[in-house]
Each structure stands twice: as structure tokens, then as C-alpha cells.
């Protein structure tokens, strides 16, 4: 391969490569967005435990603590009662 040829090969590789990377990732953006929408439709009722946890642990005064314990005990009772 002669020198100027190598240079034009390099430029071709750059244009081709960069173009392809962009096309590929653009398609990935599109398909990801579509996928998220589709999935979102099917399980929109999914619980979000991560969002709830810190709220509970933040406002733990002694009074609320008591209240919480009674609620939990009641819940466990009901749960056992179901069986």
C-alpha cells in the first residue's frame, strides 16, 4: 500500500467508523426508548421500594415508633389469620 493510499484509507475508516458508531447508538436510543415505553405499559404497577425506605427511617420519633410497631403487629396478625 502506498503512502497517500494509507492516508485516504485512514480518513475512510474515520468517516465510516464514526458514522457507524452514531447510527448504531442512535438506533439504540430509539429502541431503548420504545422498549421502556412498552415495558412501562405492561408493568406500571411495579412497587418502588427504594423510594419508600428512607422516608420511614427518617421520622422515627418514639411515638411513631410505637404506632409503627402496633401497625406491624396488626399486619402480621392479619397475615397469619389468612393462612
Amino acid at each position: 500500500m502506498t503512502q497517500p493510499d494509507l492516508m485516504s484509507e485512514g480518513i475512510n475508516l474515520m468517516l465510516f467508523g464514526m458514522g457507524f458508531v452514531f447510527v448504531f447508538l442512535t438506533l439504540l436510543v430509539v429502541s431503548t426508548t420504545v422498549m421502556s415505553k412498552v415495558v412501562g405499559k405492561f408493568d406500571s404497577g411495579e412497587p418502588e421500594p427504594a423510594a419508600n425506605r428512607p422516608v420511614v427511617s427518617l421520622n422515627l420519633g418514639p411515638a411513631q415508633d410505637q404506632k409503627l410497631i402496633s401497625i406491624i403487629t396488626e399486619a402480621i396478625k392479619q397475615h397469619r389469620g389468612q393462612k
Binding site: M1, Q3, P4, L6, M7, E9, G10, I11, N12, L13, M14, F16, G17, M18, F20, V21, F22, V23, F24, L25, T26, L27, L28, V29, S31, T32, T33, M35, S36, V39, G40, F42, D43, E46, E48, A50, A51
Partner: protein, 437 residues
């Protein structure tokens, strides 16, 4: 008299007597790598095995890094050279010509030469065996990529898919460097083929396993220098990137706060690697080894039913492979292969690749800000070069400097993992282009 002869023999067999200047220099370089890894904490997980492998490879006469044929040629017993010369069809008198013929021989002659050397009682050095098993086979980098997949959380990327564009823009560093390497060749400064230029460019992908994979496919002879450059610069990300990021952004842009990322459901995270794999299968089968293993690792993590496999992939397995990969890369740091003017070229082109990639990521983020509705802090653009998670941490740090309430880490993880995908795609394109042309 006999005693003196024996002593002389011992002396001639010692390391000090046989040490060449190149080997000495390489040992100093390897000790330097170890120093950087241990004392300065530069990518120690890789630079410790690489540095130590390099030390082992340069022990005179031990030949740990040489194949059986290279050992046989090095020992230079006349009858052995004669036999190898016959197999390879070269005059046996010149060991250099013999070694050259062995390097360039086709698979059949290559195997015949190996068989001859084995018959004559020479065997592969242990580091060379590691190299054959881990790098020449292509297995090592791919297993590491699987582990990286199992460690990657695509949540931030899925919450804001547009950050994929930042990962794409930062790959410009790769191709600009290819152009640089080719340009140096045209000017007659260096002598790189297109395949070698492509392998050097991938340093700009800032992704160790991808660099090693591409180098092993396109330019195995440059592998040592490319791997060392790649991992050293990844360690230097906190030094290389900030000046470029500061130069390209205004104080106001750096202070920009981004909106909270939405919650990403489990199903989305499970489906994403499959979507990615389908796209790879449709568009770019050449990237399938890298991205296929990556998707597999990620699916194991997200599906939640094979925690044991996922745990092994991201801990035990990746650690085992890292040890052997590091030693194998170290075996490529032998003096006669590493101490070449090309190495300097590779090291300087590599840092240029990093700089250009960073700059393009930042500029792309500014461009997207101009046209998009959701504000994007340009600092996260630099994370598009991959180098997970170092580059994202750098974005976060610079963001906090400008505005103490500005936590960019999670936002920067999006372009960061996009960069991994982007450099794997770029790797696939280059392998395709170079091997087809």
C-alpha cells in the same frame, strides 16, 4: 584448572553475565510500573501483574516469555538451527532470519517448526503458555468483559437514553488517533500499517479489555505497548481530563444542575441487554464477541435468578482472569519487542486519543444542550470515554467544585456505560473494516 572452568561456566550461565542493556532498561521500566501501581495506586489490579510479568519476561536466559521455537533459536545449537532451517526453508546460519521466518510463517509451517522444537526438547516458557491461553485465544478480554457486564448498572442510561450520544461522540478520539497514526506514517516519522493504526486508536476507547482484544486481533506485535498505554492513561484520567473540561466549559455551565433521574424498573433492565444484543446481531456481528459477553454478564446480574453465576463472573472469575491477563501482557514487555521507536509513538498518540475523546464528549453535551429541552451538564460528556467509573467520578468532582449541591455521579454513569458500548462498537467496526479491506 577444571575448577576454574566450572566456575567460568557458572558465571556464563548467570543472569548478570547475560543481561543485555535492553533487558536492564525494561526491568527499570517494570519496576517503575510497580512503583506507580503500589505507591501511587495507578490501576494496581492490572499494573501489578503486568509489571511483575514484565520483570519475569526480562530475566536473561530464563526465556519465560518465549515460545519453544524462539527458545531453540536463542540457544543456537547448530544442529537445532539446521533442523529448524530445513522446516522453515531458510538458511540456518542466521538466527535473526530464522526468527523472522518463524514469525511470518503460515499456520502449517508454524506448527511444523513448533513440532520440531518440541521434538528436540524445547518447550514454551510459562508466560508464553499463559499468553496463548488467555490472549492469543481471545478468551481473557472477553471473560473480563462478561464480568464488567455483570458489574454494570444500566439504570442511569435507561433513565436518560440520550446520554448514549455522549458515549458516541467521545469515540471520535479513537478515529482521530487512527488518522494521527496514519498521518505520522505518511510523513515518514513512524511506520504503522492501517491495522496497527486501528489498534493504537482504540487506546482512546479507554477500555482495557477492548484495547487488548483489538490489539490481539489486529496487531499482536504492539500488544504490550498498547495495553500499558491504555491502563496507564486510564489511571491518569483524573489528571488528563479536568484541564480539558474546564477549558471547554464556562463556570455557569458547570454549575448547571440536572433533574432527578426517573426510576427504572426491573423488567426494563432485563430486556435492555437483549435489545442491545439483537441490534448487534442485526448490524454489526463483528462486535458480537465483545458485546455478546457483555450482554450475557449483564443479563446474569439483572435477571436475579442466577446470583451465584453473576457473583462468580464479577468477582472470582474476573480476578482469576485478571491475574493471567496481566502476566500475559507483561510477557509482551520483552526488550526486543518493546524498546522500539514505535512505542514512543503509541504512548504519545494514546494520550492525544484520550484528550480528543474527552473534548468531543464535552462539546457534544453542549450541542445537545442547545437543541434539547432537558438540560445536560456538559461535564458529564467527558465520562463518555468510558474508563468506568473513574471518568464519572471526575465529572462529579468538577461539578461539585463549581456548585457544592451539584451531584453528577449518577448522571455521569449514563454516558460512562454508553462509552463502553460505544468503544466496543468502534472496535467491531475497525476489525470489520481492516480485515475486510
Amino acid at each position: 584448572m577444571d575448577m576454574v572452568n566450572k566456575l567460568e561456566m557458572l558465571w556464563h550461565g548467570s543472569g548478570v553475565y547475560n543481561m543485555t542493556f535492553g533487558q536492564f532498561v525494561m526491568m527499570v521500566v517494570c519496576v517503575g510500573l510497580l512503583y506507580l501501581a503500589i505507591k501511587k495506586n495507578f490501576e494496581p489490579l492490572l499494573l501489578v501483574p503486568i509489571g511483575f510479568g514484565g520483570l519475569l519476561a526480562n530475566i536473561p536466559e530464563a526465556g519465560l516469555a518465549y515460545s519453544s521455537v524462539e527458545q531453540a533459536i536463542h540457544m543456537a545449537k547448530p544442529e537445532v538451527l539446521e533442523a529448524l532451517g530445513q522446516v522453515l526453508g531458510v538458511a540456518a546460519s542466521d538466527p535473526h532470519a530464522l526468527a523472522e521466518a518463524y514469525e511470518t510463517s503460515n499456520a502449517e509451517l508454524h506448527q511444523a517448526a513448533v513440532n520440531t522444537a518440541n521434538d528436540l526438547g524445547y518447550s514454551n516458557g510459562v508466560l508464553y503458555s499463559f499468553y496463548l491461553a488467555v490472549i492469543a485465544s481471545g478468551a481473557g478480554p472477553l471473560i473480563i468483559f462478561m464480568g464488567v457486564g455483570a458489574m454494570t448498572d444500566f439504570g442511569p442510561l435507561l433513565a436518560n437514553p440520550r446520554t448514549l450520544f455522549l458515549g458516541a461522540a467521545a469515540q471520535f478520539g479513537i478515529f482521530a488517533t487512527v488518522l494521527g497514526a496514519v498521518g505520522l506514517t505518511s510523513m515518514g516519522v513512524m511506520d504503522f500499517s492501517l491495522a496497527q493504526a486501528a489498534a493504537i486508536g482504540i487506546i482512546g476507547g479507554a477500555d482495557g479489555p477492548t484495547s487488548i482484544y483489538v490489539a490481539s486481533v489486529l496487531a499482536p506485535e504492539l500488544l504490550g505497548a498498547i495495553a500499558v498505554a491504555s491502563y496507564s492513561y486510564m489511571a491518569l484520567v483524573p489528571l488528563i481530563q479536568p484541564p480539558i473540561m474546564r477549558a471547554l466549559t464556562t463556570q455557569k455551565e458547570r454549575q448547571l444542575q440536572m433533574s432527578q433521574l426517573r426510576h427504572v424498573g426491573k423488567t426494563e433492565k432485563i430486556v435492555f441487554p437483549l435489545v442491545l444484543l439483537v441490534l448487534v446481531a442485526i448490524l454489526l456481528p463483528d462486535a458480537a464477541p465483545l458485546l455478546g459477553m457483555f450482554c450475557f454478564g449483564n443479563l446474569m446480574k439483572e435477571c436475579g435468578v442466577v446470583d451465584r453465576l453473576s457473583d462468580t463472573a464479577q468477582n472470582a472469575l474476573i480476578n482469576i482472569v485478571t491475574i493471567f491477563l496481566g502476566l500475559s501482557v507483561g510477557s509482551k514487555l520483552v526488550a526486543d519487542k518493546f524498546l522500539q521507536p514505535e512505542t514512543l509513538g503509541i504512548l504519545s498518540l494514546g494520550i492525544v486519543a484520550f484528550a480528543i475523546g474527552t473534548a468531543c464528549g464535552v462539546l457534544m453535551a453542549k450541542l445537545m444542550n442547545r437543541f434539547g429541552s432537558i438540560p445536560i451538564n456538559p461535564l458529564i460528556g467527558s465520562a463518555g470515554v468510558s474508563a468506568v467509573p473513574m471518568a464519572a467520578r471526575v465529572s462529579n468532582k468538577i461539578g461539585l467544585e463549581a456548585n457544592p449541591q451539584n451531584f453528577l455521579l449518577m448522571h455521569a454513569m449514563g454516558p460512562n456505560v454508553a462509552g463502553v458500548i460505544g468503544s466496543a462498537v468502534a472496535a467491531g467496526v475497525m476489525i470489520k473494516y481492516v480485515t475486510a479491506g
